[in-house]
């Protein structure tokens, strides 16, 4: 999921004639559908954009552990507790996987994590919303992971080899998470009136933020054209959002839940759902740091890192001591 408004450094798409020979050859490889690997020559803008996109994705996985982690200790059955724990663990794995993919581009995990903690790097706006009830865990799986998959399945075909391969694995796990989220909500919707109300409330709070995950409308998305030319973005924000709405509305109906959009209706002519206007002022406010949980999320990550400093230092010191002892014994 989880990469929004990635800055490409380009204000417009340049023509072939404006590129030098290296760039032309690079673009020709991409147009030909070849994968770019870590050791290949690449334009600086491509490298920088990918670092931003992949690290934003990695940060989102790690910050995304917090709203869901919030409910592990309160999961209402042992089976649900194990499922949620495994899911949050998968997210940590995705984060590590993606940081490794970013490291192939010549940055270190420490640098990237530092960028997150100092606020220079972004993560998906969705994780700045609170998980208030158990139904939110279902809504995140169904809607947030659902939106993520929508975004990430095309990325399995993206031009950068390490990123595309990471996406293949991540997508498999995410689709499992989506089904688990839906299953959780199905249990609530088949349960008591109170449980069903909990599910409805969750859908009402998560629906619009989920639609915002795809980023601003295409007309306002200045970096999309360059990213699409580089094939590190394969479908536009609006295309993905429409696909998501078309897929999700029937699923809501099956649950017996009402999507909180008075303008939502099937358009026979277009063969798609029409849906209401998104409040982009909220999206931009959340991105700027003014969502309900921005401060808590970042603070939790900073604290974990700061409080873990002595543990990391100890592990390093121990490894150094023993590496030295090993060298000594080999020399003797």
């Amino acid at each position: 999921m989880y990469a929004q408004m990635v800055d490409t450094g380009a204000s417009r798409l340049r023509s072939r004639e404006e590129m030098d020979a290296d760039e032309q050859a690079f673009q020709a490889r991409i147009d030909d559908g070849q994968k770019i690997e870590a050791q290949d020559w690449m334009p600086e803008g491509y490298r920088r954009t990918l670092v931003r996109q992949i690290s934003q994705h990695a940060h989102s996985e790690i910050v995304g552990m917090l709203p869901e982690g919030n409910w592990i200790t309160r999961a209402p059955s042992l089976k649900r507790k194990a499922i949620l724990l495994a899911k949050v663990q998968d997210e940590a794995g995705h984060g590590l996987y993606l940081y490794s993919a970013a490291e192939t581009l010549g940055v270190s995990r420490e640098q990237l994590v530092d960028d997150l903690h100092t606020g220079r790097a972004k993560y998906s706006s969705i994780f700045n919303y609170p998980t208030l009830t158990w139904a939110d865990i279902g809504a995140i799986g169904w809607l947030v992971d659902g939106a993520a998959i929508m975004n990430q399945i095309p990325l399995c075909r993206c031009s950068y080899g390490p990123y595309s391969r990471a996406m293949v694995r991540v997508c498999k796990e995410e689709s499992f998470h989506q089904r688990q989220g839906y299953d959780l909500l199905l249990a609530l919707c088949r349960g008591s009136e109170e449980q069903k109300a909990m599910a409805q409330d969750a859908l009402e709070r998560w629906w619009w933020p989920a639609l915002m995950m795809f980023g601003p409308p295409d007309a306002d998305s200045v970096h999309s054209a360059q990213s699409q030319a580089w094939k590190i973005k394969l479908l536009s924000n609006d295309e993905l959002r429409q696909k998501f709405v078309d897929q999700t509305v029937p699923q809501a109906e099956y649950l017996g839940l009402r999507v909180p959009d008075a303008d939502l209706r099937w358009n026979t002519e277009r063969g798609h759902y029409d849906f209401g206007a998104i409040d982009w002022s909220e999206f931009h406010a959340v991105l700027k740091g003014n969502g309900p949980c921005n401060r808590e999320r970042l603070q939790a990550r900073r604290e974990a890192w700061a409080e873990g400093e002595w543990v990391r230092a100890a592990a390093l010191a121990y490894a150094d001591k023993h590496a030295a002892a090993e060298r000594h014994s080999q020399a003797a």
Binding site: M65, S192, Y318
Partner: protein, 251 residues
């Protein structure tokens, strides 16, 4: 006759469940991402074990209580875990010391239970033992890293070890239930595991440049009989709140 076995299964199940619940609180807040994954792994293993033990306990009891009824429907006084596992996470040193002291016992206990005359207990123990072998390896590694790491990590781990030590004696307590089950060849005599445990803990402490506290120090008792520390009530309040707020529904 099944009373003793029911008690024994609750003890095994509650140890795993309560420690898993503690570890769950670390996820997303660990010192390094790899540790979040490792803690989640251990917690997942323990939840899986708790489910097997508690499900069997419920069947033996024959009153229709399943794993969730036992996990979510009992108050602190009915929990049978040792005091050690309910102790707060504290800093990473305390979490690691608690894990290591428990793992060293857990490994020995499960090894012995693989020879239990109760075939189902033996089977669950055999499955759990594979997982706990890894838990012990991991917590021993961290004892070494923190004990023999920096001056700060050494001091923190030594303090954690001393703080938790008084909860280790209970692992080897025996009561009438134990006596019944030992006689039937269902469980090992708790005391029989003590010498091996002391030897293993002592060896790791030495390698980690730590001082093992006095084996004959004053020990706390009571968790296995349902007399717990103040911490367990809060742990259960958090864990059980949903099924208690919405009784009688499916999740």
């Amino acid at each position: 006759m099944n009373d003793a076995r029911f008690e024994c299964l609750l003890r095994l199940g509650d140890n795993a469940l309560v420690l898993a619940q503690r570890l769950c609180a670390w996820i997303g807040h660990g010192p390094v991402m790899e540790e979040d994954m490792a803690q989640a792994n251990v917690a997942l293993d323990l939840i899986g074990q708790a489910r097997l033990w508690l499900a069997y306990a419920g069947e033996l009891e024959g009153r229709g209580r399943d794993e969730d009824a036992l996990a979510y429907g009992r108050d602190a006084g009915a929990f049978r875990n040792v005091l050690l596992v309910e102790q707060p996470n504290g800093d990473y040193a305390q979490t690691i010391a608690r894990q290591f002291l428990f793992d060293a016992w857990h490994h020995a206990e499960l090894s012995a239970l693989t020879a239990s005359s109760d075939a189902r207990i033996a089977a669950i123990a055999a499955k759990a033992l594979k997982e706990v072998s890894y838990h012990l390896e991991r917590s021993s590694d961290w004892m070494l890293r923190l004990g023999d790491g920096t001056a700060e990590s050494h001091a923190r781990l030594q303090a954690a070890l001393e703080r938790l030590w008084m909860y280790s004696g209970e692992l080897f307590d025996a009561d009438a239930h134990d006596a019944t089950l030992v006689e039937q060849g269902i469980v090992p005599a708790p005391q029989s595991l003590r010498a091996g445990w002391l030897q293993q803990v002592g060896a790791v402490c030495t390698a980690a440049t730590l001082t093992m506290p006095d084996a004959d120090a004053w020990m706390q008792h009571g968790g296995r009989q349902g007399r717990h520390s103040e911490h367990l009530g809060y742990l259960l309040a958090e864990m059980q709140f949903l099924p208690r707020a919405y009784p009688g529904v499916q999740w």
